[in-house]
């Protein structure tokens, strides 16, 4: 088992390095002068030269990459051109927003998807099952940003129950939670639809096995068998998907924050694109990619915990 964990950790670190190299190359080596991109076509030669000096563009590419990675490892992502503060400060300010949204979306997804998926499996080939399958088919096809707009139309414009967007900070926790309700639903629905289907088919697979029949025959209630015996055994495929879904939720916040005007990293990345703030975009893209890679790594490790057979084999 330790060998397995060591190998996966080494792979994880290697992947992060390659990802950083890809991000750096796309942002720095592709044709085009970053200084010109940032300052625009009407910049003076002196200003361009000064910015090139500040960005270290006069150094060889490899040296720039090494110093970027070295500094990033110490939490230094350079200075943002548009905000004129360290990028790490911008990230620290906005990270809580993005994380709260992603975590809320994940909880929403798990609660909805596991209940619907197990419920549908329990009613296999009955109306409830078909209903869940139909709703999830539609749920997968609905773009999150359109769902957001529909939710705003209904709950903010028509019913006026919830705010249409914006976030006033955590000083008023009730108001803060209220502004997160619609974004959480919009973010979670698509992932719930996907996960509900996986949960259903995985549970159906387990329900066919002998030990489930034995458990029922020994007098355990249907509900107890479903939640205590079927669900734990159906978890392996579910966890694989959940890991990928957490990654999808985190990148999904980029879209949702822009629909609801929430001050998180996703909104920052778009402000930085329109301000041509390359160091900030580069840091944020790296951060998001790192979260995706980390989520997959954690799933790999979780396998060993969930499926003891893997422990013996590896």
């Amino acid at each position: 088992m330790w060998y397995f964990i060591f190998r996966r950790t080494a792979g994880f670190v290697a992947t992060l390095f390659v990802v950083s190299a890809v991000v750096f190359s796309v942002m720095n080596i592709l044709p085009g002068d970053p200084a010109l991109t940032i300052l625009g076509l009407d910049a003076t030669d002196d200003a361009l030269a000064a910015l090139r000096e500040q960005l270290g563009l006069n150094q060889p590419v490899l040296a720039r990459y090494v110093s970027w990675v070295w500094n990033a490892l110490q939490g230094d992502f350079g200075i943002s051109h548009s905000f004129r503060v360290p990028v790490s400060e911008l990230i620290a300010e906005r990270l809580p927003m993005t994380v709260s949204l992603a975590v809320a979306g994940m909880i929403f997804t798990l609660v909805i998807a596991l209940s619907l998926g197990i419920g549908a499996a329990a009613r296999h080939r009955k109306v409830g099952d078909w209903g869940v399958m139909f709703i999830s088919q539609i749920g997968i096809a609905v773009p999150a940003f359109w769902l957001s707009m529909l939710l705003v139309l209904l709950f903010a414009v028509k019913l006026r129950w919830l705010p249409p967007g914006g976030f006033a900070g955590w000083s008023d926790p009730v108001a803060a939670m209220r502004s997160l309700v619609l974004p959480t639903i919009a973010l979670g629905v698509v992932q719930s639809a996907v996960l509900a289907r996986v949960t259903r088919s995985s549970a159906l697979e387990v329900m066919r096995q002998d030990f489930v029949r034995t458990a029922r025959a020994s007098g355990l209630s249907r509900r107890r068998v479903l939640w205590r015996h079927v669900l734990p055994n159906a978890l392996v495929p579910i966890v694989t998907i959940v890991g990928m879904q957490f990654a999808a939720l985190v990148t999904g916040t980029i879209v949702i924050e822009n629909v609801f005007y929430l001050p998180g990293l996703g909104r920052l990345i778009f402000q930085s694109i329109s301000n041509r703030d390359l160091p900030t975009v580069q840091a944020l893209v790296m951060l998001f990619a790192a979260i995706v890679v980390t989520a997959n790594f954690v799933v790999d490790l979780l396998y060993v915990v969930i499926d003891p057979r893997l422990k013996a084999r590896t």
């Binding site: 942002m27 997968i140 096809a141 609905v142 940003f145 990345i269 930085s272």
Partner: protein, 273 residues
Amino acid sequence: MTRRLPVNFILGAVLVALVVGTAALSLVWTPHDATQMAISNKFAAPSATHWLGTDQLGRDVLSQLMAGARNSMAVALVAVLLGGSVGVALGLLASALGGWVEDGVMRLADLGFAFPALLFAIMLAAVFGPSLTNAVLAIAFINIPVFARVTRGAANQVWTLDYVLAARAAGMNRFAISRDHILPNIAAAIIVQATIEFAVAILAEAALSYLGLGAQPPASSWGRLLSEAQTLMYIAPQLAIYPGLCIVVAVVGFGLLGDGLRDMSDPRLSRER
């Protein structure tokens, strides 16, 4: 005995025919010029001349949706063809050569999963400015690892079959076998995947265009129509409804068609689910 077609295949085919037909029709005919403005006639209600009314600039909504269908289909087609060809080629190569080449290609594919289309499009937009070409490239890029994996998995199975062994014994080289024997036998799996990826590509294009990273004005795109409608939600909520419905119809259509094709190519699967 005729085999009954799966329900999802029929439903999917009808929806896809509707969307593709509309897109094709828009090439030769739309009720009005999709970009023709008439400010005096803005926010017109549905009528005999404007079936779905007009938008904030007096443009015909139906014509814009039709033009949007054309753009969505074009983007999805180019992106899936581009990413699919590269991915299939890499998958075939990995399967044919095995060893470190296979390992290398599969690790590269893993890496591709670290970059959702949105992140890739953001990088391209930051460096080159937002454009439809960058959106297509970003969507094509995320298709490469998907197709590489599917192709390699399916191809590895075919490589173990007797007739491939016979072809090798007859002295055919690995590339010729890949082209003449492997590819035709895994085509079904690739077509199924392509249909599903088509749906994914439509969603991705809509999201990128909505965020301003895809189609640029005056090009019509369902995603862009939605982003324009967002600011007008209090005045004209209907403008936010139609483009979204079009996206859902197209995505459900291609999704069902893909599922149906898979059920037909492997009947065991349809019984399982």
